[in-house]
Amino acid sequence: MKYLDEYRDGASAQRYAESLRAIVTRPWTLMEVCGGQTHSIVRYGIDEMLPPGVTLIHGPGCPVCVTPVGTLDRAFRIARQPGVVFTSFGDMLRVPGTQDDLLHVRADGGDVRIVYSPLDAVTIAEREPDRQVVFLAVGFETTAPANAMAVLLAARKRLTNFTVLLAQVRVPPALEAILQSPDCRVQAFLAAGHVCTVMGTAEYGPLCSEYHVPVVVTGFEPVDLLQGITMAVRQLEEGRSQVEIQYRRSVRPEGNPRARAALEEVFEIADRDWRGLGRIPRSGFALRATYAAFDAERRFPDAEPLAREDPECRAGLVLQGRLRPQECPAFGTRCTPDHPLGAPMVSSEGACAAYHLYRRRAHLAQVGAA
């Protein structure tokens, strides 16, 4: 496949690994922000190709993982209501709330439907005017424009039966929260290529200058990642901390102005709760007052107490890069993709899932040896 095969090429990957080896003089710790990058790294064994001392730790960039359990429980309660069509992206269906997931809600008779785009949910609302259609709008700045477009479209069509349950988060405040944590080990970030495709790179400049961390906006294929790591290490070795773009085939410094205009029109910046990380100031989006009619939290008022995490799940530490998935006592035993304690074990971008899927043999060998 053009634009993919060349970035998965074993020989090019080896060349970048060698050029990285040539410039490294001491240990460095980098965080890849996005869960898609984490999966590529573990799937293709990128971390094993790095020179000794260059360590990758996995960041919080999995939209499924950071959606608060309270939002999920609320989603499940809405989805169980008669007359509701509850729509969601596919990989939210298996994510556990306090005691449920959407697959079970559907099995119990809830009308839960997978959509590929939030605009499909608007189409359902148009076709089924007697039902309340709710879309679970989770994600980072990557999914936000399409979610904003869905609200704009519903507004233009004057739909009164379409709402979004919003858990929309922003990357830069989360990175800042990680940098502010007292035991932060991160010396450079590989920023998420698709987030910056939408938002551009301006938001990352202040992080670079204030915390002296290089930020390299990086893609998702093996060659992208190795090139991004090399660029970040070169900055560290040279004592620079700047925003650089590795993922040039997709990212412009100004981002995508039309997508950003849609965001600006529909959303305002708000404080948000992150699963595992807690409340982070200005770390998400909320609907502007003009579009409050499309807010599922208003349409379906809910007085249930906020849900609590399973205390055994260490997802918060994993999401901050402070614990490797296989270091969690529950990993592979009490927490598996079939019986997850937390979201990172089931999401397609979750770090625990990546290790369980691709590194089980190494883990089995370790456990066997112990």
Binding site: G10, R43, G45, G90, D91, R94
Partner: protein, 348 residues
Amino acid sequence: MSGEIVCPVPLGDGRRILLAHGGGGRLTRELVERIFVPAFRNDALAALHDSAVLARPAGAFAFTTDSFVVHPLFFPGGDVGKLAVTGTVNDLAMAGARPLYLTLGFILEEGLAVDDLVRVVASVQAAAQEASVAVVAGDTKVVERGKGDGIFITSSGVGVVEAPRPVSPAAVRPDDAVLVSGPVGQHGVAVMAVRDGLAFASPIVSDCASVAGAVLALLGSGVDVHCLRDPTRGGVATVLNEIAAQAQCEIGVHESAITVGEDVAGACEVLGLDPLYVACEGRFLAFVPASDADRALDVLRARPETAHAARIGTVRRDGTPGLVVLKTRAGGERVLDLLSGEQLPRIC
């Protein structure tokens, strides 16, 4: 078989299946006599008795059953009727058997368009003819609207074993070559594309087909076939895991050797699916001694339906029993695990 299906008049109002079509009365008889019997004309069926009475072939029997539920009923490259034939025929072939007879149980949903039933039955007939099997008995029930999904079909099949030695995971040996009969993942993506209204530049066509001819050719050539398995639900990755577990061996496969069509690869990339876990309905994996691998590939590649057969891996002499390891395109190795439930399209 003539394959000619007469116009289904009167059949009630003639357009929709009614509950009465399953009631055992006049409408049931019309349905059977006008749609099913003409399609599958053969002596055993024509007797319309409670059981088909069949001559006993020499050799051991293979006997299998499977149920087919697919939404939508029709998809590029096939439909539920063709699936019901090829699925059962292929299961027989996987035991090294020549498929001979099928029985079909139809569960129809009230309100089904009679035209759709006629199309499905015609497709059953064509697939049966193609695979040289006779449909010798059948049954029809009708359930209330909303309690079915158009047409459900259960098919059972009988074949006679032609493999000289048992073909099963127990026969898998270290160093065996693992072959796949063609590109993988087409069926699952084709059905998902029509079910979910995904528009691709050109429609992805299901690989739904009988593999019995290719299997019999392989057996006839004298290749010492150890094990056969069709990668239906869960795709190639799941089937490799099943065999690794049953045979208590480690299997190593090369990602670059497994052919995935450009269109299927593209669709999977967009949807976040791994084609190795996507169902095929016209492919099979074969485990043969390494010394027979080239001959087996020659036999398969000489046939149009298996022209793209390839060797994808090896049963490892040492290793962890039950494990499947994938050598990736980028040069690393990783575990190819069982999935938990179905694959779900991802967010971004």
